[in-house]
């Protein structure tokens, strides 16, 4: 037996080890001889690996607090506040049990800021540190190119993606997409010739109704709207108690009211949409018509102005597709002998005069329908009847970018690490 193959716990005597600076004794780096102007120094600092590491540490912190924050707040609130913002005040209470009532906030850079600086850092590094192309760096170029694409895709998604829902009953068709993160006040007016036929729709986005005292007037509106109170989320309506004074002077608010509620949190087991309500004063020529209770919980109410009767509702924002889907059948398959879901699927016909019809398309979990720039996903169904489907409708012009980015980054890493590994193994063999 060759004794030399035995494990040695002391340093082997043969060739002296190559110098490796250890953390214990940092080697003083020789100062660059060439003097650089302040601009160049700033550029170098912006392109430095040190900054990269700092940014990564900052993003670890941000992602962590952005996860903890979802215990208390809705996922979308958190996304807007932490990830799609330049700056955020992080409440210290996040890190402790809530009943301790810890106060205080910590200023922290938001997602746009960290991501933006990261992008600058990465791009500058190409020009400053990696400006001499070598084959050895192929992997690094490809990999970071992929990261740029990935960040771009998050920007495109953040700015352009539109999500909505479509509900269709079996045997019926629909082209209405509702967006349950946005709300609007819709006023429908009767047709000139037929007062029972409601055609023209004017909508006010709920973002214009948030502030108490806000006044909305527009020539397109048949009457003005003054905001008394807007509740981001509210309870189911209840009847007024005896002796309780109604805040409304007309409509359903004369007999009922709602209570404000906190917005749904992101980690809540039941991810339900917020149900806003509002007390609104409708005016004609500056004269109040009445104070109305408008709520997502309620059906459209009628508002009489002069001879005309309008239908008014606070509802999820709605858009209309140039094509419609017809639901033939919704299926909910279970594992035999249980109530455990095995699959949900909707069989639909696409009725599209422009692009042509498509018949008997199946939309199911993990298998969406893409049509006309929109993608339709099986999201939910009517749990009571199992005869209506809820589809998630997404328009995201950047949907392909992550696929490209993933391939680029993976490829880059494989090239880079592969080169490292083969050199390393070759060197070991050479010893």
């Amino acid at each position: 037996v060759d004794k030399t193959t035995a494990i040695q716990t002391s340093a082997p005597p043969d060739p002296p080890p190559a110098p490796a600076p250890t953390a214990a004794e940092p080697v003083p780096q020789p100062k660059p001889v060439r003097r650089r102007g302040p601009v160049m120094q700033a550029v170098l600092a912006l392109a430095s690996l040190k900054l990269t590491v700092v940014l990564m540490a900052l993003s670890i912190g941000l992602v962590y607090v952005g996860t903890l924050a979802q215990i208390d707040d809705g996922i979308w609130t958190v996304v807007e506040k932490y990830f799609r913002s330049a700056f955020v005040w992080v409440p210290l209470q996040l890190f402790f049990p809530r009943d301790w009532g810890v106060r205080g906030v910590l200023p922290y850079p938001g997602g746009w800021l960290i991501g933006g600086v990261m992008l600058v850092n990465m791009t500058l590094a190409y020009f400053v540190r990696y400006n001499h192309f070598t084959w050895k760096r192929t992997g690094v170029y490809v990999l970071h190119g992929g990261l740029v694409v990935m960040m771009a895709s998050e920007v495109v998604t953040g700015l352009c993606a539109v999500e909505g829902q479509m509900a269709i009953k079996e045997g019926e068709s629909s082209n209405v997409v509702t967006q349950n993160r946005y709300y609007e006040l819709a006023i429908t007016s009767p047709a000139e010739d037929n007062p029972t036929k409601y055609l023209n729709e004017v909508v006010i986005p709920a973002s214009m109704l948030q502030k108490p005292g806000a006044v909305v007037s527009d020539p397109a509106l048949p009457f003005g709207v003054n905001v008394e109170e807007f509740m981001k989320n509210s309870s189911e309506p209840r009847e007024l108690r005896e002796g309780e004074k109604p805040r409304a002077t007309a409509g359903i608010g004369l007999i009922g009211t709602v209570e404000p509620r906190a917005a749904t949190s992101g980690t809540a087991k039941q991810q339900t949409a917020d149900m806003p309500s509002a007390y609104l004063i409708f005016t004609k020529n500056g004269e109040p018509i009445g104070t109305y209770l408008m709520s997502l919980h309620l059906d459209p109410q009628t508002v009489k102005v002069g001879a005309k009767t309008y239908k008014v509702a606070l509802r999820f924002k709605q858009t209309y597709q140039p094509f419609s889907l017809h639901l033939i059948k919704f299926r909910f398959d279970r594992w035999e002998g249980t109530q455990m879901a095995r699959n949900y699927s909707s069989e639909v016909n696409v009725i599209d005069p422009q692009r042509g019809d498509r018949n008997n398309v199946i939309i199911r979990m993990n298998d969406p329908l893409r049509h006309g720039g929109e993608t339709f996903y099986q999201a939910d169904f009517d749990h009571a009847t199992e005869q209506a489907t809820y589809l998630q409708v997404v328009r995201n012009p950047g949907w392909l970018l992550p696929y490209i980015a993933c391939v680029l980054v993976a490829l880059g890493m494989i090239i880079h690490f592969g080169m490292h590994l083969s050199t390393f193994l070759a060197r070991r063999r050479a010893v």
Partner: protein, 673 residues
């Protein structure tokens, strides 16, 4: 001695292989006796899939007893399926009921109440049994109970309440007495629950029979109902354990009637679809007859009926029969239990190899690791066959633990083949062992359960889930290496310069893989989400957890490339990386419950917290200046750092002898990446 050195590694692996084979061999039915193993293989429908009857018994017993077999009072082990037949037929029923009747389960301290029941005060106890009550007392109790029940609440005295409690105890006793067995299987550890049930603590075993629970079952039910009404945040450990004990009773009673929530033991008349619940079947069915023959103790009749049943199912649903039989053998072999022991032996051998007699021990560990991986891999593929999901390693949290151990072991072997210092084996063995422990703790139900609808896609399970968990595994390997480097350096004088740098190289290489896997896995998850509900990235807690791992690994690599950290810095950061993986693996699953309700997830939460603290402590120890490390001298031993790069003093050309043993011993001439 030389012979011993040469053959020791083979000896290790042969002994281990024979032991494991013997342990994994399928059970044989005795010639003279009931063919329980054979009936255990019979398919039934449970949880939406066909499985062997034996599997139902095993899972239920596991849930009740935290064991997959039961021990009689003489300490002999019996298979779960035998226990199932005993429970269904009520074996030892008379004995259990008699014991239950003698148990002093009624606490009466009111003289008035004693008088009402016609009892006499005992000199030194306030506890009475059904036997003490006697027939006369029982009749009085029943009559009084019925009368008091009708009284309006305000008129009831404390004695009346007590009487009603006793009345309920007797009624529930009578309702469930049929299911009483003397088999001690209910694992109850909580002192308060035991006190409620008036049972003694049994340290080391903590197992009680249904007969023992029976007299105070009504009290358990009442308390559980009270606890269930509490808000989640007000529930403490006692309430959780109470519910746990109650559910065990529920599981037991369901099994006794062979009619669980989703259990269907009556096969369809034809074909393999449409299994029926016992409750929906009128008249006789074959398994029911087999049960009766078991109760009668008719060995020949039983075996004949089992053969007939087997033959019928064989012709009716041959695929399901083969499948169920295979699963029964798989369950019985408990391959992941065998690998737990094997991993530990690998770890132990590798560690001992550092003390002395290094090479034989290290080789022994290596061969043992290969054997372990063979068993583990075979078991993983057996799981795939059983779930009918090719290349899907992971379907639930349990299998993530199993899989991470496997990948960790693969990494260990790969490291070992390059560096040959026992490091890879120690880390792979330790990770395999630890993840097996985690897996055993997660195996609280059917580990081959059917998946939720959104997970029912073999493509994404085989790609995203596999890759992201490989990323977890690689990060864990890096973290363990880091912890090893720190502990070896601080606590022992053995970490010399060569080893220090070798560890740095391994750490770097593993971190590269960790970054690759965690990144690709995370992005594939995003693409799956895009396919599944149209949102590539939603910033939800699980996604964020995965992103944290990617960021952490990338941070370590960039800090290394920028020269901000070296071997020690990487080690410290890699240990912190372990905390992040733990967070993303388990931590985020707890967020939904909310940080304010510790009770429900108490044990997991505190385990996680303490593991996290240990990690941070090790990382903190790593920050102690190196001159205080016990290995300081060894790290300096190679002499002062040469002032110029190695090119100034090129190493001598490798000799032929050195080349012939390429890759074996540590090679200090490797430059850092």
């Amino acid at each position: 001695m030389e012979q011993l050195t040469r053959y020791f590694p083979y000896g290790v692996v042969v002994v281990a292989a024979l032991t494991v084979l013997a342990l994994m061999a399928p059970p044989r039915d005795p010639d003279k006796g009931m063919h329980l193993a054979k009936i255990g293989e019979a398919p039934v429908m449970d949880g939406g899939r066909v499985k062997p009857l034996e599997g139902v018994a095993r899972t239920t017993l596991m849930q009740i007893s935290s064991r997959q077999s039961w021990y009689d009072k003489d300490g002999n082990e019996h298979p779960a399926v035998e226990w199932l037949f005993d429970v269904v037929t009520g074996k030892g029923h008379a004995e259990a009921v008699k014991q239950a009747e003698e148990k002093r389960a009624f606490r009466i301290d009111s003289d008035d109440l004693l008088k009402r029941l016609g009892l006499r005060r005992k000199p030194n106890s306030v506890n009475y049994s059904l036997g003490d009550l006697g027939e006369e007392g029982l009749e009085k109790l029943m009559a009084e109970g019925k009368r008091v029940m009708k009284l309006p609440p305000k008129q009831k005295t404390a004695d009346d309440e007590k009487l009603l409690e006793m009345y309920a105890q007797v009624v529930v006793f009578a309702q469930n007495a049929e299911a009483a067995t003397p088999h001690k299987v209910f694992r109850i550890e909580n002192d308060q629950v035991l006190e409620l049930l008036m049972l003694d603590r049994r340290p080391g075993n903590y197992r009680y029979s249904f007969g023992e629970l029976l007299p105070r079952l009504a009290i358990l039910e009442r308390e559980e109902r009270r606890a269930a009404k509490l808000a989640e945040k007000d529930r403490g450990i006692y309430e959780v354990k109470l519910a746990d004990a109650y559910h065990k009773v529920q599981r037991y009673l369901m099994l006794a009637s062979l009619a669980g929530e989703s259990l269907r033991v009556v096969p369809p008349d034809q074909g393999d679809k449409g299994w029926k619940n016992v409750a929906d079947v009128k008249g006789e069915f074959q398994l029911g007859q087999i049960v009766k023959l078991y109760a009668r103790g008719d060995v020949d009749g039983f075996n004949k009926a089992v053969d007939e049943y087997h033959a019928r199912l064989e012709s009716q649903m041959p695929k399901d029969v083969t499948h169920a039989a295979f699963e029964a053998d798989f369950n019985n072999a408990e391959p992941f239990l065998q690998t737990t022991g094997l991993f530990f032996c690998v770890f132990l051998l590798a560690c001992v190899s550092w003390i002395g007699w290094s090479e034989p021990l290290r080789r022994g560990a290596l061969y043992l690791m290969v054997l372990t991986l063979l068993v583990h891999t075979a078991a993983l593929f057996a799981r795939m066959y059983l779930m009918n999901r090719p290349l899907v390693f992971i379907t639930n949290l349990y299998s993530t633990a199993i899989f991470i151990g496997w990948v960790g072991a693969l990494f260990g072997v790969a490291i070992e083949l390059v560096f040959r210092r026992g490091i890879g084996l120690a880390v792979g063995g330790l990770l395999g062992f630890l993840t097996s422990i985690v897996a055993h703790n997660l195996a609280t139900g059917d580990t081959l359960e059917q998946v939720e609808a959104v997970l029912d896609t073999n493509f994404w399970l085989a790609t995203h889930v596999t890759i992201i968990n490989s990323g977890y595994a690689a990060t864990f390997v890096a973290g363990l290496l880091g912890a090893g480097l720190i502990l070896a350096g601080v606590l022992t004088p053995k970490l010399d310069r060569g080893l220090y740098r070798t560890l740095g190289q391994i750490l770097y290489g593993v971190l590269c893989f960790a970054t690759l896997f965690s990144f690709v896995g995370t992005v594939l998850g995003g693409i799956w989400a895009d396919q599944s509900w149209g949102r590539f990235w939603g910033w939800d807690p699980k996604e964020n957890g995965a992103l944290l791992i990617v960021l952490m690994n990338a941070l370590i690599l960039h800090a290394r490339w920028g020269g901000m950290v070296h071997q020690r810095g990487m080690a410290v950061l890699a240990v912190v990386g372990n905390c992040i993986v733990l967070w993303s693996w388990f931590g985020v699953n707890m967020l939904g419950v909310g940080l304010h309700s510790y009770g429900f997830i108490a044990s997991t939460f505190w385990t996680m917290l303490s593991v996290g603290i240990v990690h941070l402590a090790i990382a903190g120890v790593g920050l102690i200046p190196m001159r205080h490390w016990r290995s300081h001298a060894a790290l300096q031993a190679a002499g002062p750092r040469p002032p110029s790069p190695p090119s100034a003093a090129p190493p001598p050309a490798p000799s032929r002898r050195a080349r012939s043993r390429r890759g074996r011993g540590p090679s200090p001439a490797i430059k850092p990446a």
